[in-house]
Structure formats: structure tokens, C-alpha cells
């Protein structure tokens, strides 16, 4: 792996996920300048089994909007994992 080809994505965590990781964010390295949310989903499940992403019905928000997972994300995007909500 050539490190010069890696970029870092920052992924915001909330609620149960934030608590599990004891962190507001995940910083992950990808081998390209962007990655689709579909790939990111797979990647996160492999990389962080302790998040338990297989067990929850989460979606991604990119720049505060829920996005279709065909979409690609880049380092400057504000990415968040949104676990099932329970406000009100």
C-alpha cells in the first residue's frame, strides 16, 4: 500500500455508536480520493466489528442529508452514521 495514495475520512458518531467507540468521530483511511457509501458501509463493518453495524438499521448522512449509497464521499464531506432515531 502506498501511503501517499491514502486520504482520511472523518465520520461522526452519535448515540449508542459514539458510546461504543468512546469517541465523537472515526477517522478512517481510504486508498483513493473518494469512496462510495456502499463500499464505506462494507469497510466499516470489517474494520470496526465492535460498532455492531450488522445489527442496526443505520444510514449515512453526507453534509447533513441522508444519501443514496451509490454516492461517493470525499475527505471534505461531513459524513455521519445515523443509527435508528428516537427523538420527540
Amino acid at each position: 500500500m502506498n501511503l501517499s495514495e491514502c486520504t482520511t475520512l472523518k465520520i461522526r458518531l452519535f448515540g449508542i455508536l459514539r458510546e461504543k467507540m468512546e469517541s465523537d468521530n472515526l477517522l478512517i483511511s481510504i486508498h483513493d480520493t473518494s469512496i462510495s457509501l456502499k463500499e464505506l458501509r462494507k469497510y466499516l463493518k470489517e474494520l470496526y466489528p465492535s460498532l455492531g453495524l450488522n445489527e442496526i438499521n443505520f444510514v449515512f448522512a453526507v453534509n447533513k442529508v441522508i444519501c443514496n449509497e451509490d454516492m461517493n464521499v470525499k475527505p471534505l464531506d461531513e459524513i455521519a452514521i445515523i443509527p435508528p432515531i428516537s427523538g420527540g
Partner: protein, 139 residues
């Protein structure tokens, strides 16, 4: 007016803000922390929000409400942090000339906050603290 806040929600103040001399109707919804869930006594609830996204979505809901109903003012406030039983977690208040619009817009407001706002709660009971199993967010 829409916002998330860590401060106590003062329903009297919100009522004064939503009031308007041109309006004959005010409908409000207030959500409070209940002293129980389906199984046990609840002592309090911790609310966590993705504040910046919640405010974006509240702005959209506000726009939709003004596009869809002839109302005068719309206020939606959601609290975050730890709330004790009886404290207000969310309030939606709508003023309009006639009551039908205010009822519909208020109901639309709270339904959409529940469905679309990234907010999570953790209940405190005598058995510990549990994140509530929620529902998949609505796009």
C-alpha cells in the same frame, strides 16, 4: 422559529412568541418525559442530537409547513441533554387565523420531527441506562 437547545423549554414564553393579534387559533404539542416505559419506572431521559442536521431538517419542515398551510407563526424546539420526568423534550406551536390549519400544521410538525430528526434517547431506570431502540430515519 426552530432550534435545538440545552435550556429548559418554557411553554409560556413560546406561547407568547407564537401569539399574534391576527390569529384566532393556537395549537401546540408538548412532549414530556414520562415516568414509565412499557416495562418499568423511568427516572429521566438523556437526549442527544446531531444538532446541525436537526436544524437543517427543522428548517425544511418549517418551509413545508408554510408552503402547505395558511398559518401565521410556527415554532419547533427540541431539547437535548438530561431531562427529568415531567420536563419538556419537544414543543411545536402554531398560530393561524382558523383552527383547522393550526391543528394540521402542528401535527405535521411533530410527526416529521419524530420521523426525520437525528435525535437519540437513553432512558435512565433503576436497572441502568439504555439507548432506546429507534426507527430508521426518514429521508
Amino acid at each position: 422559529m426552530i432550534l435545538t437547545t440545552k435550556d429548559t423549554i418554557d411553554q409560556t414564553k413560546i406561547f407568547d412568541q407564537v401569539k399574534d393579534d391576527s390569529c384566532g387559533a393556537i395549537v401546540s404539542f408538548i412532549g414530556l418525559v414520562r415516568d414509565h416505559n412499557s416495562k418499568e419506572k423511568v427516572e429521566g431521559i438523556f437526549y442527544e442530537a446531531y444538532d446541525e442536521m436537526v436544524e437543517e431538517i427543522l428548517k425544511n419542515i418549517e418551509k413545508e409547513v408554510f408552503n402547505n398551510w395558511n398559518i401565521k407563526k410556527f415554532i419547533a424546539v427540541h431539547r437535548t441533554g438530561y431531562l427529568q420526568v415531567g420536563e419538556i423534550s419537544v414543543m411545536v406551536a402554531v398560530s393561524s387565523e382558523h383552527r383547522k390549519e393550526a391543528f394540521e400544521a402542528c401535527s405535521y410538525g411533530i410527526e416529521n420531527i419524530k420521523k426525520r430528526c437525528p435525535i437519540w434517547k437513553k432512558e435512565k431506570t433503576q436497572f441502568g441506562n439504555d439507548w432506546i431502540e429507534g426507527v430508521k430515519i426518514n429521508e
